[in-house]
Symmetry: C2
Subunit: 392 residues, 2 copies
């Protein structure tokens, strides 16, 4: 069997460029627009914190971009997930369905509510939740009582399902919405990675009852740290704004809080950064597409390696590019990681599947074969916006 | 009885200046140092997020300033409190002693752990927890079992006590530490408001097993939003850094998290702001002292109003200046608030006492007479650093 690590490095060099001037990171942010002007305006005016106009502007820009009625800016994507589940009534003793193949935050947010993650398998075509497998599983392993869905084994109510758009590739959301409807489970979309991604022409994050975005430093656009909650429901939007801002009741001077709330506010200075970044999002998306197309082309003829492309009917933001090794090259995965990183090309495997982590190893789960296969075979490769620029 | 509102406005005008050019806020931030340079460096380098050197620098500066071995920068003071209580083992079914006279975050952090706030009275000399009343109360209303302290009424363990340095004035911490020791209750210091305040020559925030600071926009120095956790305990410091950064175990490329963690990281861009602010903290403290001395002088001869000065044996940062109306002027409190705010001097009453809020009204509490009296009589008055500058 051939040794693929060096061939992969050759492709990375061809597409992402030489590492002569330093490592090529997995995903670095790019600030070349109005970032500095807006941030300077915050500093000059003194309004860097919770008071200030960039938060509102940022929320409006997000809502407009995604086509969702309300966007609530928060301190990060994890906080966004937590507040979303809480406002939908996820609480102690409930279960929440989520992919085992996702970033840890999706499960942690469930834990913050005192609820229990319940792990679902992924499909290879989207890397996201497998609707067919989920439907079969729910039919066999749950029962309905008083209109609600319960886990046969634990008798706990399954209150929410949180599909995630992996690396920016849209999950097959339509059948998932149908399932959620059938079993009366509320759907929350973890769109942390998929700003700028579309499913059948509609922006991801606009399908869930509530959805979330992340503006962490490794995302397509960033606020340093930040996130947003999206919803078309006016009442939920109001509640979400309220509980993410300490549940303070507006008053000329009184400090009255009418329920348990959180300090999940995004500071104005971070929102300022976000406004400048959103202005160039479309340009960044174009560049990421150029980069992905180059990778796709180079890996097309590559035996033993498949480049992950956007699923049918969807347009991906190609946030994080990935290759999948053929089963018979699995033993070379660590070599590939070791050698690419040594050569200055930052690569990484998939997240450790959540059901394998100590705090989640006892949680309910279905058969997770596909997620396990993906996790053994997938490698993320350099994906920064700047790599999609013409270097000639 | 004389009408004091206009006389108070006259003092505010004399000390804080005229409102001709706009309102005089309660506390506005001041950026005149290296804020721009440091933030620009973040933006230029692309390192605005969790990676970057300002976070480490900020932590070192805080540790050095406060004289505590470890400072862990986090996203805000509320997160700092939550992580502190969690790492000390506060959990579902525990009770935590805290003043009823504090900002909502102190109680909310207890709730996030699933524990129950247990409210303690304040003393007029410090506005903070009354050690004498607390000791009497614990002697009468708790019992020891296996070396731990339990509430006689609820049989819940009292695991922690969280005194707070109100408006920057140091609480009488020594006797509180003795009580904590006697009853085997861990002491967490809420020093959110008291950066730059000292108790018998030692910085507040260095007495608790763990302590917290806030760098919210209304604080003496700010990072937009931010906080820090302080501790002299190496093991706790390590645990705190771990759980506030998603409990990710360091590895070249693997994403392995070994326990429930939080995304409580402070972004690098906010830390950059903080570094610049800490450089001028001493200068700001001087200015706040000048302002407080002016208020003190003007209110000395004022009948019916007492200006709150630093407690004996302590040096206050005078973060938020306050006056206390005599009992017989209480009916004029709302008038004073109304007229001062109308005249462009932002003033506000104390927080609504936490035991009066709907979500905390059923929590255990002692007699809270002094806190109630303070809350009826106290008014915060404009306190920005800039008001302490020479305007001649
Ligand atoms: C799938 C997913 N969910 C949630 C999050 C959490 O977002 P944040 O890092 O902003 O807290 C992230 C990103 O880090 C993510 O990739
Ligand atoms: C006493 C007290 N505790 C906790 C906090 C919480 O800090 P933050 O607003 O940074 O979350 C604050 C400040 O707002 C405070 O005044």
């Amino acid at each position: 069997m051939k040794n693929i690590a060096n061939d992969i490095i050759a492709v990375l060099e061809k597409v992402a460029g030489s590492t002569q001037n330093g490592s090529i990171l997995l995903h670095e942010p790019l600030f070349r627009n109005n970032e500095w002007n807006y941030v300077k305006e915050c500093i000059d005016s003194g309004w860097v914190s919770s008071v200030g106009s960039y938060v509102t502007k940022f929320e409006q820009m997000i809502a407009e971009y995604t086509g969702v009625s309300h966007a609530i800016a928060v301190v990060n994507g994890t906080a966004a997930l937590h507040a979303s589940l809480e406002v939908l009534g996820v609480e102690r003793g409930d279960e929440v369905l989520l992919p085992t193949l996702t970033f840890i935050a999706t499960a942690n947010a469930v834990s913050y509510c005192g609820a229990v993650p319940h792990f679902v398998d992924s499909e290879i075509s989207t890397l996201g939740m497998d609707p067919h497998k989920l439907k079969d599983y729910l039919l066999n392993h749950t029962y309905m009582s008083n209109g609600f869905c319960y886990n046969k084994k634990t008798d706990r109510r399954i209150k929410a399902v949180v599909p995630m758009h992996t690396f920016g590739h849209s999950v097959d959301i339509e059948p998932l919405l149908e399932i959620a409807d059938t079993f009366n489970i509320v759907l929350v979309e973890d769109a942390a990675e998929s700003l700028g991604s579309y499913y059948k022409g509609t922006h991801t994050g606009s399908f869930g009852k509530v959805s979330i975005l992340s503006f962490n430093g490794n995302k397509i656009v960033t606020t340093g740290g930040g996130g947003a909650i999206l919803t078309n429901d006016d009442g939920l939007a109001k509640k979400l704004k309220h509980i993410t801002t300490t549940a303070k009741v507006p008053h000329k001077w009184e400090y009255y809080h009418d329920q348990l709330g959180y300090n999940y506010r995004l500071p104005n200075i971070n929102a300022a950064l976000g406004c400048a970044q959103l202005e160039v999002l479309d340009e960044y998306l174009d560049k990421k597409r150029v980069l992905a197309k180059k990778y796709e082309y180079e890996f097309k003829a590559f035996n033993g390696v498949n480049f992950v492309t956007e699923p049918a009917n969807s347009k991906s933001n190609y946030w994080l590019n990935a290759i999948i090794l053929d089963e018979n090259y699995i033993e070379q995965r660590n070599d590939v990681l070791e050698l690419t990183n040594q050569s200055g090309y930052m690569t990484r495997p998939c997240w450790n599947l959540l059901h394998t982590l100590p705090m989640y190893s006892e949680c309910p789960k279905m058969n997770l074969d596909t997620a396990e296969a993906i996790s053994r075979r997938l490698i993320n490769i350099p994906s920064s916006v700047i790599l999609g620029e013409d270097r000639s």
